[in-house]
């Protein structure tokens, strides 16, 4: 995929750039539009940095009405839109298009309402994930989904990607904590989906747009559930002589009816990298390490941590440390949460993959990754949200060497294909974006993909919202003979696919 194919560039539009900018200035303040080479450079990529593209312009609307007017104008003029939150996405979902406008929601950044009576918070999409918790923590509340980038990632982006985090085994992902959104569709219509109620009637459009990666609508307001903080939290840091033992321990904990708040695993490469980086006191002789976090009442936490230790012992653990204070517990997490920068310190670049697998296939998958790593001669470190089976292999490469990136991408694709082969899926929380677009055919056949494309057409009939993402563009599905071509006509011929 190193030569990334994107939808055909509209040369006529490029030649009319000055007119477009002039018209945009009629909709929003001139200072909220940037289009020069230098100014747009920071926006040429998101956290999937392998690909860069400067947009036609970047716009920063300040209100829902401005978003609506922008979309209405672009829809009429057939100008493509790429939505962007904080730009922390890991699958290239916010990669700009040469002939598209990058619509940043970072200036819609206010907390609108804290409603303790209904235990929810209403915010604009540019508010960071962590800011929601910070706004309610003085009353002892918090917002549960906590992706590792929570200090900077925006809640709008979280909704668009249906982000997870280390606590999603017990508390679910964004979709399970989201009560309502205000959205703007491509034709400029402003709608509310959900609200402050637990259920909505009719088709679950709220569920549909959550995780739709900016292809169906722009999100301009978000209502999320907040929870009271648990009374006590403790974590156990457990080392294992083999990955199999670690994997068995995870299954055993669940088989014993325990659902920890978080359950994270790392392999030896990552234990060393993160321990060097964060001095977290990890068991460096272990082949695999598990962090198990339990929350609840004091009694419950003490009892369950005890049980977890027993289960770990039974599964041949080589070391067990229980946190004695919140500081110590946070130190356990410091290494895991620094997995990305730690890899950055040992390799010029890395690709972070994001498959989900059945937990009992972990050892198989890690063995296969080991083989592939040798085959491609690139080292791979593995972080695993063990509770929910979400595996993040981090592939080290050097972006200055084009061949190295190509190899890393092939290795990544092989890993994800293997994840699907053992009954897993392509992406657990990072989204498809441009990164895994061509692999969609590994999971879905033409009927499945066409059904999704038909839904896309309902909400964005001209395919102007974030085109080139999620759905395969290359001819892969067709080559595999799954495309139904009737009378020489393909479905939706205007969706570029070759």
């Amino acid at each position: 995929m190193s030569n990334l194919v994107m939808p055909k560039v509209d040369q006529v539009l490029l030649s009319k750039k000055d007119t477009v900018i002039r018209n945009l200035k009629k909709i929003i303040k001139a200072e909220n539009i940037i289009d020069s080479e230098d100014e747009t450079r920071p926006y040429e990529t998101d956290a999937f940095t392998a690909y860069r593209q400067k947009p036609l312009a970047v716009v920063f609307p300040e209100t829902t009405e401005e978003v609506s007017k922008l979309l209405m104008y672009c829809n009429q003029e057939r100008i493509k839109i790429v939505p962007r939150g904080a730009g922390t996405g890991l699958s290239g979902g916010a990669l700009p298009l040469e002939d598209g406008i990058l619509l940043s929601l970072e200036r819609l950044n206010k907390i609108l309402e804290i409603d303790y009576k209904n235990r929810c918070v209403v915010v604009q999409p540019g508010v960071t994930n962590l800011a929601i918790t910070q706004a309610v923590q003085n009353q002892g509340f918090y917002y549960a989904p906590d992706p590792s980038s929570q200090i900077v990632c925006s809640i709008g982006g979280n909704v668009a990607e249906n982000s997870g985090g280390v606590h999603s085994l017990k508390y679910g992902t964004v979709t399970n904590s989201l009560l309502g959104v205000e959205v703007v569709f491509m034709d400029g219509t402003i709608s509310r989906l959900g609200g402050k109620t637990y259920d909505s009637e009719g088709y679950d459009l709220l569920g549909l747009v959550t995780g739709s990666e900016g292809l169906l609508c722009l999100i301009t307001e978000v209502t999320v559930k907040i929870l009271k903080k648990p009374q006590a939290v403790k974590a156990a840091l457990i080392g294992f002589p083999t990955v199999e033992d670690g994997g068995n321990c995870v299954s055993d904990i669940i088989a014993n009816g325990i659902i920890p708040a978080g359950m994270e695993m790392m392999d030896k490469v990552l234990i060393h990298a993160t321990d060097n980086f964060a001095k977290a006191g990890y068991p460096r002789d272990a082949e695999a390490m598990l962090i198990v976090e339990i929350d609840g009442t004091e009694t419950e936490v003490t009892e369950l941590i005890e049980q977890v230790s027993k289960i770990a012992n039974k599964n041949k653990s080589s070391s067990i440390k229980i946190s004695n204070s919140d500081n110590e517990r946070l130190k356990f997490w410091a290494g895991r949460k620094a997995a990305f920068p730690a890899c950055g310190a040992i390799s010029p670049d890395y690709l972070c993959m994001d498959g989900t697998i059945p937990r009992n296939k972990l050892a198989n998958v890690l063995t296969e990754i080991g083989k592939l790593s040798k085959k491609y001669n690139l080292s791979v470190a593995n972080a695993f949200h063990a509770g929910d089976g979400n595996l993040h292999p981090l592939i080290m490469y050097d972006a200055n060497d084009k061949k190295s990136l190509e190899k890393a991408e092939k290795l990544g694709a092989d890993i994800l294909k293997y994840c699907v082969k053992v009954g897993g899926v392509l992406t657990g929380e990072h989204g498809v974006g441009i990164e895994k677009r061509e692999l969609m055919c590994e999971m879905f056949n033409d009927n499945d993909i066409q059904q999704q494309i038909k839904i896309k057409k309902v909400l964005d009939s001209r395919s102007l919202l974030n085109p080139g993402k999620v759905f395969p563009i290359l001819r892969k599905c067709v080559e595999e003979g799954r495309e139904n071509v009737r009378g020489g006509k393909t479905k939706f011929p205007d969706i570029p696919r070759f």
Binding site: Y198, D199, D204, G296, T427
Partner: protein, 427 residues
Amino acid sequence: MSAEEKQNSQTYQGSNSIEHPENEKDVSEYIRRFYKSGISLELIGSGSKRKIGKPLQCEKILNLSKLSGIIEYLPTELYIKVRACTPINQIEEELKKNKQQLVFEPIDFGYLFLGKSDYGTAAGHVACNISGPRRFKVGSVRDHVIGFRGVNGKGEIIKSGGNVVKNVTGYDLCKLICGSYGTLAALTEITFKVLPTPNESETLVVLNLNLDSAADLLAKALSSSNDVSGAVFLPNEPQSNDYVANVEEIFSLNDLKHASSYTAIRIEGPKNSVDERIQNIISELNVKNNDNSILKTYQSEIFWKKVKNLEIFSSAKNNVARIVLPPSYCTQLLHHLEPSKFRYYVDWGGALIWLEICELTEKIFEDIRKKVVQCGGHISMIKLSDYLPYVEEVFTVNKNLYNISQNIKKSFDPKKILNPGKMYTGI
């Protein structure tokens, strides 16, 4: 007999005939044929929730009950994959063997419609997306369907999701399917997320509270860190009819003899933790000792089963509606109603009201609906009495989203042959 032969057989020729496909391929073939000739069809499983939604007048009935059986159950992977019309009690029995459960508490609507159990099938529960008392803590049916296979209105087999809990590959069609009342696709396979059954369930029942104090108490309990998993108020009003007697009879448990209103808070988990939390709540909420009962696991489980299965309305001859609203508006709405004409109870700590409307007129219904919508909620008529007054829409239509909903319907079912009009006119 192939689908084609079946269609040519006499059963098919009869009006309103029932087809019984045996597998997914059959379902696909039937629907493909019906699509070609534009024949509308009603999808049914066991028929336990057939009366929910608008009555259908279809040319054919596609009975999917033969698509039954557990396909794969991996307890440590926390999922169970079943054929769509597997009876829900068969699934629960199987999960029980491994001390696991469908945590969203499927509701047995048999008590409401027949006065006795009629638990229905997996697909029926998914199609209606109506969940029990634990909903505010753990989510609804839609939060526990992690994958499905089905046949759309053109006869095409489609799928979405998978067998893993964490999955963002492509649009989340599982969400669209849940609560779509069979108007988008005929389900053939469903994968549910399952969770361990807690060791203990205890219920603190506070007696003699009125609606306002009860709502206040439930709100405080839900805003505490005690991990409440059930919060219901069963009033002892209106006194003027048999409702109160019925409540007393249904909830006549050993530790709940006292005739009173019941404000019940459920805690689940390991034994010591449950005891600790119950004591925490009693002290945090200042509940006096002589004003409460504590139901231990055996009775607590019976209590919540009766609550979830709407047993209170098992003798209801009248219209029963389900109102979902932001919890802070619950008391306001109920005070708006004229007491003698309604019977109700409050679930989800105030976010759900089950309401029996004794004398339904269009005016009364529209008045309630208007008020509910003003509060930011919606009302659905779940049961309509036999002396049915005219109710144009049994569900609440969101006018702003109607066009989109109609087009979503068409994207799955272009000729609108699957359960047409079941949810809304034209969808």
